[in-house]
Symmetry: C2
Subunit: 269 residues, 2 copies
């Protein structure tokens, strides 16, 4: 929201108003409620994180009927007539995660890919990250016998799910690397800390406080990040340039794919 | 220079003039020639990369006599009364390089630290990087028997030096990781390519074209970078704020320590 506010300060003199609507990443219903409210307000343009595939498509169809331009942030849907996408290349960030774990884990060890998500097929950017991850190994290590194991865990807060993960790790001690495909890597870090499993390399996404804390403890090794304030800022400015200045805008605007470790986190801006 | 030009555009309306002086990183004499010219111009403030320790100190003494404030970029000298330092924490970037090689190279392999520099003791930031590198291992791997080997090569362009490196690598096949402490890692990459040594992990500094090319080929694995245009911009603005706006400025302003690989280089801005 810092980037959105910064953009608003620059453009509010043009009579632009911004209203913000938040949804829960764990609940597509909250997404639906907010998109209904947005449509009632009949905005001239929309910036949208198309987090849930199905619900986003319904919303987009309605925007298109009404000729309301929309900019995607965070996650990209290729099949839609968006004005622009601003965010990370999810496939490529998956490839990077694979390289870091490939380098960090002995050649004969197994690697676990963990999705903390309900209805994974509804979450395009996580699917893209997984695809990029597998692509790295099939392209760079075609001869390797390394085992890659993928698991989906709908609710990492439940005791049942946590026990599933614990059993998985205890019965497969050859798993020495874990990639969590979203920002919820701290749930896994909690389990690793509890089990005192210190020899597993862990990589996740996003610089949220819980993750930073496990990064500094050395339980999470790498976090892949982007500069979220840049995303919000660029999305609003893109919409403004299209609607008010009638300028042509870039249809894809990829943000950086940053690697954060314990050693450089304090210098990251 | 992009950052310097951007800063100049913002402040030239205040009647500020900027003159730029370049020196060769391989030749302290060119540094001396330029600092003499600068002193003849008697500027109101100086932005300076104190690349050569002795020559920088002489120059600084003269600036201090004349009460001319100066801002360091790129490399820091702790003992001087600078107005501000803007750049990377060299010690910490050395620590990060050590972590990346520690993770990428088998526990029993040796690691070579290569300085491509004449008179290393005159080059503070390379010394700091090496210190940070060793500190990582002594702190995190106190029990390890891993061998760290440091070599100084005055002139990586000479055939003699290149033969020294070739012999070193061929007689020490247990060296599976190499850290080049500055931007000249491409000289090493050339040798590795020639000898077809594909199983050595290599880390260096700075996104110059020669390095990017070897990064994309997979011969250099990691480059540690900063955003140089940010440095130039911030240095000029800092001096401006001090001299013209009479504002208090921060005495240390560390830039980010970015990790660039083949996988994220195209998204780095």
């Amino acid at each position: 929201m810092i980037g959105v506010r910064k953009a608003f300060e620059e453009i509010h003199q043009y009579g632009v108003n911004i209203s913000t609507h938040l949804f829960k990443q764990s609940d597509p219903k909250t997404f639906n409620t907010e998109t209904k409210l947005i449509l009632e307000n009949n905005p001239e343009g929309v910036v949208l994180a198309p987090f849930f595939l199905r619900e986003s498509k319904e919303f987009i169809e309605e925007l298109m009927k009404r000729n309301i331009p929309y900019v995607f942030i965070d996650s990209n849907l290729n099949e839609c007539c968006k004005l622009s996408f601003i965010g990370q290349n999810s496939f490529q960030s998956g490839t990077l995660a694979a390289k870091l774990l490939d380098y960090s884990v002995p050649a004969e060890a197994s690697i676990l890919i963990l999705h903390f998500a309900k209805q994974l097929d509804n979450m395009n950017h996580l699917v893209q990250r997984e695809k990029g991850f597998y692509e790295y190994f099939s392209k760079n290590r075609p001869e390797s016998k390394r085992k890659l194991i993928t698991r989906e865990i709908a609710d990492p807060t439940s005791e049942e799910s946590q026990n599933v993960i614990k059993t998985l790790l205890q019965t497969n001690p050859e798993i020495l690397g874990i990639f969590v495909t979203n920002s919820q890597v701290y749930y896994l870090a909690n389990i690793l800390e509890e089990l005192n499993l210190t020899n597993i390399r862990v990589i996740g996404h996003d610089l949220i406080n819980e993750n930073i804390s496990f990064l500094k403890k050395g339980i999470v090794d790498f976090l892949i990040c982007q500069r979220p304030e840049e995303q919000g800022y660029n999305a609003i400015i893109t919409l403004f340039e299209h609607l008010i200045l009638k300028k042509e805008v870039k249809s894809e605007n990829y943000t950086s794919i940053d690697i954060i470790t314990k050693e450089n986190v304090d210098y990251y801006k």
